[in-house]
């Protein structure tokens, strides 16, 4: 009888330590959806850039019209906003189901620690665009997003750490195989999001 009480105490301690320090309402399903948007976006971008498939990879000779650049920006922004919106909505839903408030101190910590590396990368890339050094944009987005995930992982569900590490590796590979940026983007933001989202979904949410 006593034993059961001690076990209960210990599991209560563990539960509270987790709930008070980590944001657990992050939804795996939103990762799956974000990955799907990214794949659609990548396909649209591919259609915009490469009219002729033989130029795939030959970024040095690639000439992109101003119209195409604007289209690409619209695609990228739509994918990012749509993913963000989905993430927020599904997290609110999950928090409600678990009887937790969404905007608490763990959520704040998660968002701040995610945004610091991400915003650093964002400004860095904007300055590169301003200076017309476009070649490294694709690998840099992957690397900075990976670092942001890695940093945020301390404040949420464990899987995010491995997502971050995967993105960093992809970013480095993408630097080596320069010119295949879109392909690496599709693998990272598309396939990896779907993969890790599914793992999180089946591990934590499926009931």
């Amino acid at each position: 009888m006593e034993n059961e009480k001690y076990l209960n105490d210990l599991s209560e301690i563990k539960n509270l330590m987790n709930r008070s320090s980590r944001f657990l309402s992050l939804s795996g399903l939103s990762g799956i959806l974000a990955g799907t948007y990214a794949l659609i976006g990548a396909w649209l971008a591919y259609k915009t850039i490469y009219f002729d498939t033989s130029t795939m990879g030959a970024y040095k000779n690639l000439v992109i019209s101003e119209e195409a650049v604007i289209r690409l920006l619209v695609i990228a922004t739509s994918v990012a906003l749509l993913s963000l919106l989905t993430g927020i909505l599904l997290s609110i839903q999950k928090a409600k189901k678990n009887n937790e408030t969404i905007w608490n101190s763990t959520a704040r910590r998660l968002v701040i620690n995610f945004l610091i590396p991400l915003a650093t990368g964002g400004f860095f890339i904007l300055f590169l665009i301003e200076k017309e050094m476009l070649g490294l944009i694709a690998p840099l987005t992957l690397i900075f997003y990976g670092l942001a995930c890695l940093n945020a992982s301390k404040y949420t569900i464990g899987g995010v750490r491995y997502l971050g590490l995967t993105f960093i590796v992809l970013g480095l590979l993408c630097t080596w195989f320069l010119g295949y940026g879109l392909l690496f983007w599709a693998i990272g933001f598309g396939v990896c999001h779907i993969l890790y989202g599914s793992i999180m979904y089946f591990k934590y949410e499926r009931n």
């Binding site: 034993n3 001690y6 209560e12 301690i13 509270l16 330590m17 008070s20 608490n104």
Partner: protein, 98 residues
């Protein structure tokens, strides 16, 4: 056996007090409302249990104003962290023994 029982701390022998300490072990500090929400306790209930831990000097209380609202935040003291660590170890040992 006697030694282990000694480390089972009466001060933590309540769900709310155990909860307050668990939260303060992994967070630098937590304010009254955060604790209340995480523990699902009423104002009076939480206040009295916090008071008990405070009088053992296991937690330190800091009162300040954020704008016009009073804000009470709690921190675990070194003594409190040590006592709680011992308590957890004692629990684990007891479970292994039985």
């Amino acid at each position: 056996m006697k030694n282990i029982i000694q480390n089972i701390n009466k001060a933590f022998d309540h769900r709310i007090r155990l909860g307050i300490m668990s939260i303060l072990m992994v967070n630098e500090s937590a304010d009254f409302n955060t604790l209340k929400e995480l523990l699902g306790a009423t104002d009076g209930n939480l206040a009295s249990h916090a008071k008990a831990l405070e009088s053992e000097e296991y937690i330190a209380v800091e009162k300040q104003f954020i704008g016009k609202k009073p804000n009470t935040s709690y921190k675990a003291t070194k003594l409190g962290k040590k006592a709680f660590q011992d308590h957890i170890e004692a629990l684990e040992k007891l479970i292994k023994k039985n």
